[in-house]
């Protein structure tokens, strides 16, 4: 009878969840990048049109979505370093679990530094008038 797998890098523990998160964040960032390349291309066509489109990035709802985007990028980038260390560092697999929590900790830390400032920018700029 097969024994229950435990302690492997990819089943049920942080190894698996980091993989799930890395995949989901990667896809989310990819689709944002498609849109972002297109909206930025407007600068070449028409300055006024670009300003109009970029104004939607400053609305509360999209402003909040940007927090999600930054959180996704933070996790994906830092966990990317963890993946690279697992692959290339002799002790990478040994510390992969610890490194996962370092990734989460660092991501939260940087996010906490960014979020209040970003929220202040978004919510002090509710487009009334001009």
């Amino acid at each position: 009878m097969p024994t229950k797998p435990t302690g492997t890098l990819y089943r049920g523990k942080t190894g698996m969840w980091s993989w799930v998160l890395h995949r989901i964040t990667g896809v989310a960032i990819f689709f944002f990048l498609l849109v972002h390349t297109l909206d930025t291309a407007l600068v070449r066509l028409d300055p006024a049109a670009y300003n109009e489109v970029i104004a939607t990035y400053k609305t509360p709802i999209i402003g909040l979505a940007e927090l999600g985007l930054v959180a996704a990028i933070l996790f994906h980038a830092l966990n990317g370093v963890r993946i690279i260390l697992i692959d290339f560092w002799r002790k990478g697999t040994k510390y992969q679990n610890l490194m996962f929590w370092i990734v989460i900790g660092l991501a939260i830390l940087i996010f906490a530094g960014f979020a209040p400032r970003h929220l202040a920018n978004v919510f002090s700029h509710l487009p009334v008038g001009k």
Binding site: F30, L33, R44, D46, P47, A77, N121
Partner: protein, 143 residues
């Protein structure tokens, strides 16, 4: 349906080698993208008034400087190729029919190439002071 005899056996010798370079590229581009993307977010979203300050004049101010033109063009290429190659991994994992897998991967690379061409044209042929009826939108240094 693609059947791989044992998970470790490559499809063919040639594609195994190509996969190795793709694998390596994901890691190399990832390291460079950390610098490029974090720098991009720091300057555009954190410094000054962040998202509030972004408009045509802001972009024009940045791209009047070759440093940011090179930065953004490199970021465009690396992020699009990295992201597209990552999506290819997902397509290979989840598609069950060979025809659909090929079609999705071909679509991914087509979009990738189109956006790289478009984006590169934008960053390299950009004019910070274009002829426009809406002079308001132009940066200070054009007036």
């Amino acid at each position: 349906m693609v059947t791989i005899e044992t998970p470790r056996s490559p499809r063919t010798r040639k594609s195994a080698n190509r996969e190795k370079w793709a694998w390596l590229f994901m890691r190399a581009s990832g390291v460079v993208l950390i610098v490029l993307i974090f720098g991009h977010l720091f300057v555009n979203l954190f410094l000054g008034e962040g998202i509030k300050a972004i408009d045509f004049a802001f972009v024009a101010g940045k791209w009047a400087n070759p440093f940011w033109q090179v930065w953004d063009t490199l970021m465009l290429w690396l992020a699009l190729i990295h992201g597209t190659n990552g999506m290819r991994t997902l397509v290979n994992d989840y598609s069950e029919r060979e025809g659909i897998r090929k079609f999705l991967n071909a679509s991914l690379w087509t979009v990738c190439i189109l956006l790289i061409v478009l984006g590169t044209l934008v960053t390299t042929t950009f004019d910070p002071c274009p002829d426009t009826s809406v002079v308001d939108a132009l940066p200070q240094f054009c007036k």
